[in-house]
């Protein structure tokens, strides 16, 4: 478009029309195609967030900050942050530590498609269905406990649903495939000739991982960690269905939901949603700050 502007402009005397000047900066009819999508997202994503933010400072009763004061002084609310962290952080770390070595193996596999198809299943079926299946499968009469008892590993059925472990298992079932596929896509993005070069120069597998893959992979792993963590942190259906929503797995999203749809206190619910967003942001920033401490270098991975 800039070529059009430069050839047409001199013919039309000194001052080109507004349309041409806009076209020169890249704004023309085609750029306007962005408007509907952008306006839609501003109306339904940005505006509600600002609205919720403002609403959280206009509580049903009390001063401007009373929602936040209530949240942090009432242990019934304040504990939800710790409860959610206690679920989300171990799950994310577990998923990531399992995903990295497995992705390194699978990378060498020629027929990855069957495996990845299997792993996409729990993601597409969603947490509700996984929770529904878990209730019976991991229950005291389910196949899982039965098999362990037949093998003689346990004498009594282990309680794996309606407690902390139920939520943990459900988040591994839906979270591990997500973490794994994301990690795999970062690992396959690294040029294999880099590893071959290191191997030719005599580097052992551990050294190749330490000096070639690790620095290249770190930015991708930081993003994977953040995305997995944020998903685990906002766990909702499985915390209700296979957890103990009144005690051990009363996560922050349950508190927000109850305020909004059981107490009809939208102001308090917005405040909790803002706290949820803020705590997620703190962890994400901490991860990126930590990454900067461990490794300084180009942000893009080896794909160039």
């Amino acid at each position: 478009m800039s070529t059009v502007a430069s050839t047409v402009a001199p013919i039309r005397a000194a001052a080109p029309s507004l349309r041409l000047r806009l076209a020169a900066t890249g704004i023309d009819g085609v750029t306007l195609l962005l408007l509907p999508a952008a306006l839609f997202l501003i109306a339904l994503f940005i505006y509600p967030f600002i609205y919720g933010f403002v609403l959280s400072f206009e509580p049903k009763q009390g001063g401007t900050l009373s929602n936040y004061q209530r949240f942090f002084s009432d242990s019934y609310f304040a504990n939800t942050v710790a409860t959610t962290m206690k679920i989300a952080l171990p799950v994310t770390l577990l998923n990531l530590t399992l995903a990295i070595p497995i992705a390194f193996r699978v990378r060498l596999l020629r027929r990855q498609r069957l495996l990845t198809t299997f792993l996409v299943l729990p993601i597409t079926l969603g947490t509700v269905l996984v929770a529904e299946g878990m209730l019976f499968y991991f229950g005291p009469q389910g196949w899982f406990n039965r098999t362990l008892m037949t093998l003689g590993l346990i004498s009594h059925p282990v309680r794996l649903v309606h407690n902390y472990w139920g939520v943990l298992i459900s988040l591994v079932i839906t979270g591990f495939p997500f973490t794994f596929l994301l990690t795999l896509s970062y690992i396959t993005g690294i040029d294999p000739s880099l590893e071959q070069a290191a191997a030719t120069l005599g580097a052992k597998p551990a050294a190749r991982f330490r000096h070639i893959f690790w620095p290249l992979l770190l930015p991708g792993l930081a993003i994977t960690f953040c995305l997995s963590f944020v998903q685990a942190y906002s766990v909702f259906p499985s915390a209700v269905l296979v957890g103990e929503p009144a005690a051990a797995t009363r996560v922050i999203s349950i508190a927000a939901y109850q305020s909004a749809f059981e107490d009809y206190d939208y102001s308090m619910a917005s405040a909790i949603a803002m706290i949820m967003a803020a705590t997620q942001l703190i962890v994400v920033l901490a991860v990126f700050a930590g990454r900067a401490l461990v490794y300084r270098g180009p942000v893009a991975s080896g794909k160039g």
Binding site: T25, G26, I27, D28, V30, T31, L33, L34, P36, A37, A38, F40, L41, L44, F45, Y47, P48, G52, L55, I102, R113, T116, T117, F118, V120, T124, L125, G126, V128, L129, E132, G133, M134, L135, F136, Y137, Q141, W143, I173, F178, L181, L182, S185, Y186, G189, V230, Y233, S234, F236, P237, L241, S253, A256, A260, F261, A269, S270, A273, M276, A277
Partner: protein, 276 residues
């Protein structure tokens, strides 16, 4: 010799882990399917006998006919609108450079990075204030929030790899914008649009949080109805909830299988990489 042994053990341990995961996943799904056909299943490895009657009772008890109609209405509307809003925007993002493009990219990335339950609660509040909460339109609008950016981010790299000289050539031969669109762009874009919209379809059927927060009694989709059924378990027979779960699985898996013919499984997850 020694090193290859430890390496083999390491590999075996990893495959064992993968096998264990897939075995449990398959068994979990098999439990739901078996239970939905069981007459009575208490305290044994397998149910006493098999029947299909739970499917009929689930269909009546949960008004699955109505729920399925609502589900397809929502999904169809979301797919069409996400395509209409997303594809032109992706085209503009791929073809033009303009001030503020980075900011706009952030606007398209955020709804995919922020989890639905976090932005869903303020969004549901706004929808209920405007009277759209609890209606079919509200559910459709809510589901468009993550799907429009998804279409945009999937389509940008696809459009970028189309040679812009093809469009220039059509212009040279005197094609107007409309003719250019119908005869040149549409045929080239169709495979990419199809893939993106199939992914939107699969994601919308399974999208629980946003629908749950905005749906009223008459605008529930299948996955929300399933949640309420499991939540109120004890009122209804377990088998009939399992039958409903199987119906939900079937509707999702049919579309997943169709989608997987056109896209790589990692595409369902790895949108962040393409967004760079």
């Amino acid at each position: 010799m020694n090193r290859s042994l430890t390496e083999r053990l390491w590999a075996a341990a990893l495959w064992l882990l993968v096998g264990f995961f897939i075995l449990n996943l398959t068994a979990l799904i098999a439990t739901v399917i078996t239970s939905s056909f069981a007459t009575r299943w208490l305290g044994t490895w397998f149910p006493a006998d098999f029947t299909t009657r739970w499917y009929f009772s689930a269909w009546d008890e949960f008004q699955l006919g109505d729920v399925l109609i609502v589900t397809f209405e929502v999904v169809f509307a979301v797919v069409v609108l996400a395509g209409l809003l997303g594809v032109p925007a992706a085209y503009a993002m791929a073809r033009r450079n303009f001030p503020g493009k980075k900011l706009l990219m952030l606007l398209f990335l955020l709804p995919l990075l922020v989890p639905p339950i976090t932005y869903g609660i303020p969004m549901a509040t706004v929808l209920y204030k405007t009277g759209l909460g609890g209606t079919l339109a509200g559910v459709i609008l809510a589901n468009l929030v993550p799907t429009v950016p998804f279409v945009i981010l999937v389509m940008i790299p696809f459009i970028e790899q189309i040679d812009p000289r093809i469009e220039a050539a059509a212009r040279v031969f005197g094609a107007g914008t409309l003719r250019l669109f119908i005869y040149v762009l549409l045929p080239i874009l169709t495979p990419g649009v199809l893939a993106a919209l199939l992914l939107v379809l699969v994601r919308t059927i399974g999208m629980f949080e946003l629908t749950f927060l905005t749906a009223g009694p008459t605008s529930q989709t299948l996955v929300v109805a399933l949640y309420y059924a499991v939540f109120a378990a004890g009122v209804r027979a377990v088998q009939s909830i399992d039958a409903m779960a199987v119906i939900y699985m079937a509707t999702t898996l049919v579309w997943l299988l169709i989608a997987l013919r056109f896209v790589n499984p990692t595409q369902i997850v790895a949108r962040a990489k393409q967004a760079r």
